[in-house]
């Protein structure tokens, strides 16, 4: 098991957001985390990265992540792509990518060339300030930037939100390529089709708890889960 959350509780200030989550991600596995807005999916990501206060246990390859700083967690091999992308607006696209490297000039399984080969339009925009990029380009950049740090597990929060269908397809291919190169993915996704197509296992969250766990096949069979926890 790469990542294992056990009875995880998390808090935003005084509000109690996660109520005992159990979730795990295996080596090289793509796991989708579904649920309506506000059920605690993003908070789960932030708890893994050490960005919110949490109790319980988060184990990653024998390390206990609780109590570590975000940079220490990242250096254990976890990448994070936040929902709001958080590109560094004053830096160029290329400088953004270079900050993804944990040490200058030290590349892992992803080099700049790999990124530009997957997203050709990023190459032509590499000297543009990231604040000037389109939403789609910023999303590609946010994912690519995390890859530069060569993570073995990447936590991706809503990567296709607000993207045009063509770009959604590009993101899907990107995620598949990440998995092909051996990294595990914890994917928060609103679009069921993508999540079910590429993931090995699916979790559904409701009210800060896990309400369903199973394969995409099992999820497709159980219509009640979808009706009760996902459809608006």
């Amino acid at each position: 098991m790469t990542l294992q959350l056990t009875r995880l509780h998390a808090y935003y200030g005084k509000s109690h957001v996660l109520h005992g989550i159990n979730l795990d991600v295996g080596e090289g596995e793509i796991v989708a985390l579904l649920g309506r807005n506000g059920v605690g999916r993003s908070t789960t990501c932030k708890a893994i990265m050490g960005l919110v206060a949490a109790k319980g246990s988060i184990a990653y390859r024998g390390h206990n992540l609780l109590g570590l700083r975000p940079d220490q967690i990242a250096r254990l091999g976890i990448g994070y792509v936040p929902e709001d992308r958080q590109v560094f607006p004053t830096l160029t696209l290329r400088q953004n990518l270079e900050l993804g490297l944990k040490r200058a000039g030290r590349f892992g399984r992803w080099r700049l060339e790999d990124i530009y080969a997957l997203f050709p339009n990023l190459r032509s925009r590499q000297n543009v300030a990231a604040g000037q990029l389109s939403g789609g380009e910023q999303q590609m950049l946010a994912i690519s930037r995390s890859l530069m740090g060569d993570p073995d597990l990447i936590v991706v929060d809503e990567p296709t939100e607000g993207l045009a269908p063509k770009l959604v397809e590009q993101v899907r291919e990107m995620l598949c390529e990440i998995a092909r190169r051996g990294a595990a993915i914890l994917l928060i996704e609103q679009k069921l089709t993508i999540a079910l197509q590429i993931s090995h296992r699916v979790y559904v969250m409701g009210h800060g708890r896990v309400v369903f766990e199973g394969t995409p096949g099992e999820f497709a069979k159980d219509d009640s889960v979808r009706r009760q926890w996902l459809e608006v």
Binding site: M49, L51, R69, P70, D71, I73, A74, R75, G79, Y80, P82, Q86, F88, P89, T90, L91, Q95, N96, E98, L99, G100, K102, A104, R145, S146, G149
Partner: protein, 315 residues
């Protein structure tokens, strides 16, 4: 013409000194969200350290050592003070730096006494560089300009050309993301705080003997530096630079231009008589409102453009 030239030079000098103080403060404020009330105290300590060092081993040693001491002090304050206060929120941080400013002032009073110390311009630079219209411009003023311009260039290059500068820039907008990429953000904070403290110390070294080195210097400089930071805008070094120069000029010209709103109205053909509404206010000459003109500008800026001149986010 003579007045104009000398005032421009004085305004530029004062503006550059302000920038050395404000650049550190704006970086600290933007990255850490802490309005460091003790920033000007480090400026004062820089001047006193320089005074002590220069009367023992000379000014040039002081020029190097005093800012380094201030930087070290800054690192200690951040690591052992602010970081602990930070866990209890911004108000705790604010009060911590506020208390620190008073402690430094009282310590300076205890050690060096209430009156100004004879920290003088070094004899090597105490000559007239050139004279315009009978006004002598000392070599030391040229030296201050040179040092502050070199510092501006150094900070600019550091921030825009080096990896550390990129990390600092990135931390201005998204510190959590910077940390999530594996960068040690607390260490970035300490570095920036120490760097800002060293710059404030340097401003003290070259400003203390040009202006005056006394226990009140921190509290007379502090508020105007805040004005510069707010006016220039959070997260923008360029805005900070422009605001520094504007405040430098405003303060210099407000002292020498003896005019009032009534005079301006008279030029437009409107005579202000005692019967005119607000006549008392309109007749106040500029030098009398000079000291609070920067604050007036800051309040105005906050009302019309809360993010400041070139700020990247709201104050």
């Amino acid at each position: 013409m003579e007045l104009l030239l000398v005032s421009v030079l004085n305004g530029l000098l004062y503006g550059m000194l302000l920038f050395m103080l404000a650049s550190g403060l704006t970086l600290i404020f933007s990255i850490m969200g802490v309005l460091n009330f003790a920033h000007a105290s480090l400026y004062m300590l820089g001047a006193y350290f320089a005074y002590e060092i220069s009367r023992r081993v000379g000014f040039w040693v002081a020029l190097v050592i005093a800012p380094l001491l201030c930087g070290l002090l800054g690192a200690l304050i951040e690591t052992y003070g602010l970081r602990k206060a930070h866990r209890h929120g911004h108000v705790a941080e604010l009060l911590f730096t506020f208390g620190l400013a008073f402690i430094v002032e009282k310590l300076v009073l205890m050690v060096w006494g209430p009156t100004a110390v004879p920290y003088r311009v070094p004899p090597e630079l105490d000559f007239t560089l050139f004279s315009v219209y009978g006004t002598h411009v000392s070599a030391y003023r040229g030296f201050i300009l040179l040092i502050s311009a070199a510092m501006f260039a150094a900070i600019w290059l550091l921030l825009t050309r080096t990896r550390m500068g990129f990390v600092i820039q990135a931390s201005l907008s998204h510190p959590d993301m910077v940390a999530s990429l594996g960068h040690n953000v607390p260490r970035v904070f300490t570095t920036v705080f120490a760097g800002g403290a060293a710059l404030a110390g340097l401003a003290g070294v070259i400003g203390g003997n040009y202006l005056v080195t006394e226990p009140a210097m921190a509290f007379s400089m502090g508020p105007i530096v805040f004005v510069v930071v707010v006016f220039g805008g959070l997260g923008s070094l360029a805005g900070c630079f422009i605001a520094s120069l504007i405040m430098g000029f405003v303060q210099t010209f407000a002292v020498v231009l003896d005019i009032s709103p009534a005079d301006l109205l008279a030029r437009l053909g409107v005579a202000v008589t005692p019967a005119t509404p607000l006549a008392e206010v309109l007749r106040v000459p500029l030098p009398r409102i000079g000291p609070f003109l920067p604050f007036l500008l800051m309040v105005f800026m906050l009302l019309v453009r809360p993010r400041g001149l070139l700020g990247t986010r709201d104050t």
